[in-house]
Point group: C2
Chain length 414, copies 2
């Protein structure tokens, strides 16, 4: 079954805001075996809306309209669907009562135009919205001689997601042949993108019945495998078989077989080894610490760190001897190692990490170009360092460097 | 003139990837007075593509197709446009030569199917792509009796943006009546969203000829004012007049009248005062330092900071007396103040900032709930502290807290 998602709202036709609800709805539709063939974004103009709805009904079987269900003059989704299908809108007494009850609970007076939200398309089922005043609608109807399923869903994401899950998905599932879906997400760090495709494509292209999506971003590669079969066992078997081969090919680039983030994996290993971590960051300026502390419970293994942007701070917070900086420069293997060792000793952590580099756009030289970053990791036995040169702008260099630092910790703990 | 942007590529119909090129193109189109009425996302299926192109040509005058111009079997935009318009494709000898020359420069052999990229729609103008092998195309034609402008643009963002700017925009501008556009971006921090709308809406709704867009995100509010008039002076006058009234209403919530980020403004004030800054972060875990160091040249004013996640680190990096933590708890006004003062003294910075709070999801108590964050700022004269309670999940609490910390620094420097 082909579907189309129509996101309604003029704000999504500006340079400033995007439709994001469709990502959530797509994931849920895919899981029950419905493909999204088109997405349309249309503004709050009745004529445009009628045009978009007509186009969608002519080319797909399932049309999901998101947004335009509020109380204002600009909220025209109900009117436009009714017009496209030549159906009437009727004001539903039960919905009028519900709106009054809701206003009473909130102890607010209800403006007359709020009652628009009680307008129901002829033949539609009202879908309760637990998180807002605008209900959704479900319409099982015909258009130009073909059966069509049409859903109207509110636009605010928490209303959209909850109502789609509880009201639309079960009804859709009842209309579809039973299917079982298996999904696996693999993640790998710091593998060159061209290399990833070279080693992975020959494997996954052999599995035509498994849909493989590869997403690469700042040194992180995510592979999602989805397979749909008549039985759960059959779907799972295909996904597991392909996942096994991909995992083998990814070797130690692979860090997760269940979709965890790299920082979650680092914290998992730290917990397993009963180890603690501290970081001294220069060019990443807090990015490494920030990613780790974004994980709930990270305080159990992460002691903290120092953002040693100035040279004196490298000395006072990470014990880097000023002579070492004078001799080798702040961006050097020696200083990265001293930072890693210094922060470890200063904090009493099991592992210390140092990152120093040239994020750009200025500050590069012929021997030390923009993008050059030194990394070091230190434990009680030894301190290792290496460098990498990342291409791109300041933001990209910093993101890649933070990813490399986290991967370094993972490999040290493995 | 109404336009539609069609993003071509099956990957944008998965839950994992979105069309982003349309945001850039929309901004450029708006600047020359072209509205985007529809956006469509369609996969690499020829039938669906032909359907989407036909629907777009029936409802708009300008259609911009992005993507599907590469050398693979899945790249079908050229073929689909030709089919929709009943035009032929011809292989252009000059483009074939250009592809061979490009391959020679890169010292790679050219596969036969690469030549697809030399196929040009009958009557189209070839648009040079400086950043890739697939050229764009410009077609000034008629469809069902009406004149239409159709552009084919490559999908990789750096190719798309460059080619659209240099090849499409000048041609489009030549087709449109001359217009002058004035744009202003105002930014404000930490103003409650409901309050922003209450004080701003009565002002900007009076200016129907200025398009005002408000974007609120994690304590940051951005207002964009766009006005189009026959002359630059007239457009500018209206935008400046409205901007002046909005600035007055925003009072000291306003931090930028030219679109700079809050961290840029903080660094600007630090430079102006010849002041330096150091931060001690607990719950924000490096987010404040990370935002500041994302700005090129930040090292001139930002000395660095400490991510003092554990209590011993609060003592060893920010001089917080252990008794103070024992007496008041790590999340307290006293500890925030001690962190601000301690980091200032330890680093020799003009200003020290301390942030400590409960980001959640666990760790809250009745008297100190999740979302409670203490802030302090210290200079040689005094140390001030206050607290705020943010709603939402761990990520939201951290983002709001980082924004509040930056705003605190701005206000201290103002």
């Amino acid at each position: 079954m082909k579907s189309e998602i129509i996101a309604v709202g003029s704000e999504m036709l500006t340079p400033f805001r995007q439709d994001t609800n469709s990502l959530y709805i797509t994931e849920k539709l895919n899981e029950i075996g419905v493909n999204v063939a088109f997405k349309t974004i249309v503004g709050d103009r009745r004529k445009d809306l009628v045009n978009a709805i007509g186009a969608a009904l002519r080319r797909t079987d399932i049309v999901i309209l998101v947004g335009g269900l509020g109380p204002t003059e600009d909220d025209l989704t109900r009117e436009a669907v009714a017009e496209t299908l030549s159906l009437n809108l009727r004001r539903e007494p039960a919905q009028v009562a519900a709106l009054h009850a809701r206003a009473a609970t909130w102890r607010i007076s209800m403006p007359e135009n709020n009652l628009k939200q009680a307008d129901v398309i002829q033949g539609a089922t009202v879908l309760t919205n637990p998180n807002g005043s605008a209900p959704g609608q479900w319409l099982d109807t015909t258009f130009e001689g073909y059966r069509k399923l049409i859903m109207l869903v509110p636009g605010p994401p928490h209303e959209c997601h909850a109502l789609f899950d509880t009201e639309c998905l079960p009804r859709l599932r009842d209309e579809l042949p039973p299917r079982a879906i298996a999904v696996r997400t693999l993640k790998a760090a710091m593998i060159p993108e061209s290399q990833a495709d070279k080693i992975l494509a020959p494997i996954y292209t052999e599995y035509k019945d498994v849909e493989t999506t590869i997403l690469a971003h700042n040194g992180d590669i995510q592979l999602t495998l989805i397979c749909s079969k008549p039985t759960q066992a059959a779907a799972k078997q295909r996904v597991e078989e392909l996942a096994g081969k991909l995992e083998e090919a990814l070797d130690d680039w692979l860090y997760s077989s269940e979709g965890e983030s790299l920082e979650q994996i680092v914290l998992y290993y730290l917990g397993l080894r009963q180890a603690t971590l501290a970081v001294a960051e220069s060019c990443t300026g807090g990015l490494v610490a920030q990613r780790i502390t974004a994980v709930p419970g990270s305080s159990r293994s992460f002691l903290g760190g120092a953002v040693v942007y100035s040279d004196p701070l490298k000395t006072s917070f990470a014990n880097v001897p000023p002579e070492l900086i004078a001799q080798h420069g702040a961006v050097s293997a020696e200083v990265a190692s001293a930072m890693a060792e210094g922060i470890r000793k200063r904090t009493g952590a099991t592992l210390g990490v140092g990152v120093t580099g040239i994020a750009g756009p200025t500050g590069g030289t012929e021997s030390k170009p923009v993008g050059l970053v030194y990394f070091a990791v230190s434990d009680s036995q030894k301190t290792d360092s290496f460098n990498r040169t990342f291409r791109g702008d300041r933001d990209r260099v910093r993101q890649w460097a933070a990813q490399q630092a986290l991967d370094l910790i993972r490999r040290k703990l493995m």
